[in-house]
Symmetry: C2
Subunit: 228 residues, 2 copies
Amino acid sequence: MSTTDTTALPSRREQNKLATRQAIADAALAMLRSRGVGNFTVEDIAEEAGVSRRTFFNYFPSLEAALASVTEGFLDHALEQFRLRPSDEPILDSARAALMALADPMTVSPMAELFSLTHDNRALVRSELEAWDHCTTQIIDAARRRLGPDVNELYLRALAGSIISCGKAAMSVWFEQHGPDLSAESLASLRQHLIDAIGLLGSGFTAPAPQTPSAHSPQPAADPQYSA
Amino acid sequence: MSTTDTTALPSRREQNKLATRQAIADAALAMLRSRGVGNFTVEDIAEEAGVSRRTFFNYFPSLEAALASVTEGFLDHALEQFRLRPSDEPILDSARAALMALADPMTVSPMAELFSLTHDNRALVRSELEAWDHCTTQIIDAARRRLGPDVNELYLRALAGSIISCGKAAMSVWFEQHGPDLSAESLASLRQHLIDAIGLLGSGFTAPAPQTPSAHSPQPAADPQYSA
DNA sequence: GTGCAAAGTTGCACTTAGTGTAAATACGTG
DNA sequence: CACGTATTTACACTAAGTGCAACTTTGCAC
């Protein structure tokens, strides 16, 4: 029965693996919180997660990867939204919609915390970049499936890369302005940044950019003026 | 006398350091060539460079960083070009001009070799991403200096990130099509990719993208239609 | 040139990352 | 419950990365 279930309860074993993985990721974040970046080892995380050091490495290739799993989850969520969009929708509209799903308290919360705790760390930043890059290739794949295999490859990659860049830009500007504030107003601001950034992609980076974007502007790029 | 010289011969000590650094980077590339990715250690590189293991780590924080120095040099070259552009030039024109400097045999050659030798390696890819990301922040700084401190931060970061994404997209598509071919025709194709990609940024990703871009199109986006 | 201080290199010792392997344990199914 | 398989663990090992002190080279003043 479980195999025919579309919600696919993934068998006890799978569940356990997921739980272990999550426990490790949680432990990693807990150590980051309590000791600060660079002041704990894989062994510490493993102990905190109630698991052997070797098991840690069965789940994550490195300490940084365990922390970057937060970012991966965050981006996977957006990716899922993107894949759910109707395939005849202009692709930038889909991108905007997918990114909007990130401006949700439950979703950004871990991401915002990670941001605030890791502000500067080479190895960590590298793993973060890897997560964003992985998301880019996923977008490329999804968009290629949508637009057909004959779509211009340069267009595809430039578009996917730029979408991700705009998402990153919006996130970083937002975080710099609001820190870990997850209030409704703060999240509205994040949404606006995401809309504005995607808007730039739609209309081209031609405007010299307003001095200050006026965070209250009523979604200047929200109308589908840039249909594909 | 040397201190008054504008070409600034940077004192013997600096020269030596530069030479050592280069020797290490060269040795790393040599090892990559001869043994393939993952089949040599920092100690091997140090020996090849005629230097102690400890000294290697005085210059580079990791094996991957030594290899990524190739990418850094490549991107620094473009960055320098960007900074040399007149400050009243539309910024996308500057970006395009800077990227064009990369389509030069001497400049792309090491980059193309690195591309062909590292096709797949987590740690290496991470360091590459780091180099591109560093370049992005440099562009942000340069553009902020040019556009004034009051420019919209979101615009700035989205723009810089998208420029870099387009550069990456053009490079990757080019390399996939031409491999390590550095002939005049191949480089012309790279230039066209770079122009096309920046063109997308100028006009917005609104076109559904031509099925095939027709690599002979006479620089469709070369005219400064997108002046800031 | 001689001597001296600062910069750079090296060897050594040490902690931690990451991986292979085989034994032990937990799980799912009949 | 018992059996086969998936997962965890212990152990051993190589290599990364770092702190430190000794040593060598360089730049500079005399």
